[in-house]
């Protein structure tokens, strides 16, 4: 067996080992590569940035489950920091049954870093089952769906919720989801109510969301850890997203090198077998 054939038939466990090493190294030796902002992230950032301080609140729907935490939690942290930094009021809710703890953890952690008060600068509404029904219902009156916040306080007793009835009083909704919840916001908040919606989704889902972005159904889009890293760059608060991008660079390069080796070996092996180099395969 020539070396080319050996390379082609390499035990895939060597590849696994290489990936394992590549992902771990940047944890100990950070590279600190810079991140450049892309238009969908910039437009979501601008949409948040244009919100009036201490006025109509941003509705942040933290719809992810534990499985997509590493990609989406950096986003919620970056967006919450952006809002708290600018004194923009935030109302947090979740549509995922397993998202309650995660949403609460994100908003409380971010709030700890800033001088903000619960009920005045931010509120947490908790979870309600039934995705489309919740979104549609909030378009009529938020109180129909969430009569009280997650801790049992009626919404009217929260200063920042006074005067907030439905989507007319919410300039922007952002959904961070690793499943179809973000799409549901497009279908049931943008389509019937023309509510401005932004989304943060996993990198793999981002492809599906380009049509919505292009059709103006979404105001902006964060895709995966990179989207989070870009947003962290814009709010000048590098964190998990930015650090993760170093590991990303190494692994992406590794995969490309592997593909290059594979193709070189493939053509060496072909040449050895069919000297004419022709033939349609």
């Amino acid at each position: 067996m020539s070396w080319a054939e050996k390379v082609l038939k390499v035990d895939r466990r060597w590849i696994f080992l290489a990936i394992g090493i590549a992902v771990t190294i940047p944890f100990f030796l950070p590279l600190g590569l810079p991140v450049i902002t892309t238009p969908p992230v910039q437009s979501l950032y601008d949409a948040v940035d244009e919100l009036e301080p201490n006025a109509a609140p941003l509705l942040l729907s933290i719809d992810y489950a534990p499985a997509t935490l590493p990609e989406l939690e950096p986003m919620s942290m970056a967006i919450l920091r952006h809002c708290f930094e600018k004194d923009v009021d935030v109302v947090v809710m979740t549509l995922h049954p397993a998202g309650y703890g995660l949403a609460e953890r994100a908003v409380l952690n971010a709030a700890e870093e800033y001088d903000v008060t619960y009920g005045e600068d931010f509120a947490f509404l908790g979870f309600q089952p039934g995705v489309s029904a919740v979104i549609l219902g909030m378009g009529i009156n938020i109180r129909n769906v969430f009569p009280e916040d997650a801790y049992g306080t009626p919404l009217d007793e929260l200063p920042l919720m006074q005067g907030v009835r439905n989507y007319d009083d919410i300039p922007l909704v952002i959904s961070l989801a690793g499943w179809s919840a973000a799409e549901a916001w497009v279908y049931f908040a943008y389509q019937p109510y023309r509510q401005t919606v932004g989304a943060g989704v996993t990198a793999v889902m981002a492809t599906d969301f380009y049509p919505y972005l292009n059709a103006g159904q979404l105001v902006g889009l964060l895709g995966g850890m990179r989207g989070a890293a870009e947003y962290e760059g814009l709010v000048q608060h590098p964190d998990q997203g930015t650090r993760g991008m170093d590991s990303q660079s190494v692994i992406h390069l590794l995969i490309i090198v592997l593909i290059a080796i594979g193709n070189t070996a493939y053509f060496m092996a072909r040449r050895a077998k069919a000297p004419s180099g022709g033939g349609v395969s």
Binding site: P70, P129, V186, Q248, I255, G278
Partner: protein, 278 residues
């Protein structure tokens, strides 16, 4: 206490990773464990989050969402009917009556089939068509748009010609074929770039023509009523080319999110469990 639980989580994590080496007792244990845990989890969650508040409590305790409801009232019936439909599913346990389970299935499948049709038409067909049309035509200078539309048609015709008449891109050699494709891609891209220097409107409409060509090609590929020969064959091949670019691009795009998950787990092991990094 937290450390014990974290250690359990970490050991289970390592058990799953051991699968990468080969199937082994640790993986088998973890796999059977997670099946058991999730079965118990869903059993409890489905009962307490759906059945209890929406069926059991209103029907038997006459309370719904904390409010009392009357026996035989409208709300009571509205809780009883889905409850009965759910129970009909269990008719399967008695083969003689298994067929009544289909009623529940009929309600569920029929309801969602009806529910799905119109939004799909709206969001996936009409809205996409509209977006495509508007983004192609939505440039400020109609003259430039027309010129570019014509230009797009020419490029498209050339591509189709290459792909149909010169089916194999004029050569049999695979490397040469790839070469031709690469050179034309580079040329196309260069042309696009040169145009971008001359007129920004032109670029917008030219790149948008890609949307039309791609959509036309892909839809042709999914045309089942005719053999893929002649013009339709060419269009379908253009569609395949677009599909391939799309698949490659989204594959590459996805790598990042998968690596993100791995980073999350590695950070759990190194940071949350072993405290090796901060």
């Amino acid at each position: 206490m937290t450390f014990i639980w974290t250690t359990i989580g970490a050991l289970l994590t390592l058990s799953i990773y051991s699968f990468l080496y080969k199937d082994n007792p640790f993986y088998k244990f973890a796999e059977h464990l997670v099946v058991g845990v999730s079965a118990g989890y869903y059993l409890v969650i489905y009962y307490f989050n759906f059945i209890h508040p929406n069926v059991f409590s209103p029907v038997f305790l006459l309370r719904m969402g904390g409010e009392p409801i009357g026996f035989g009232s409208f709300l009571w019936w509205m809780a009883l009917i889905p409850g009965l439909l759910g129970i009909l599913l269990y008719a399967r346990f008695f083969p003689k009556f298994a067929w009544v389970g289909r009623w529940a299935l009929g309600v569920y499948v029929g309801g969602y089939a009806g529910l799905g049709i119109s939004p799909v038409m709206q969001a996936r067909v009409i809205e996409q068509l509209r977006a495509n049309a508007v983004s192609v035509a939505g440039v400020e200078d109609p003259f430039a748009a027309m010129t570019n539309l014509a230009l797009g048609v020419v490029i498209f015709a050339a591509m189709t010609y290459l792909l149909i008449v010169k089916r194999n891109l004029g050569t049999k050699n695979l490397l040469a074929k790839i070469g031709v494709l690469l050179v034309s891609a580079v040329m196309g891209y260069a042309g696009w770039w040169v145009l971008s220097l001359i007129s920004s409107t032109g670029v917008v409409s030219l790149t948008n023509i890609l949307l039309v060509v791609g959509l036309l090609g892909t839809l042709s590929y999914f045309f089942f009523s005719m053999k893929h020969k002649g013009l339709l064959g060419g269009l379908a091949r253009v569609g395949i080319a677009f599909l391939m670019v799309g698949f490659g691009a989204s594959f590459g795009y996805t790598v990042m999110s998968r690596v993100s998950l791995l980073i999350g787990r590695v950070s759990f092991l190194l940071h949350d469990w072993l405290h090796l990094i901060d």
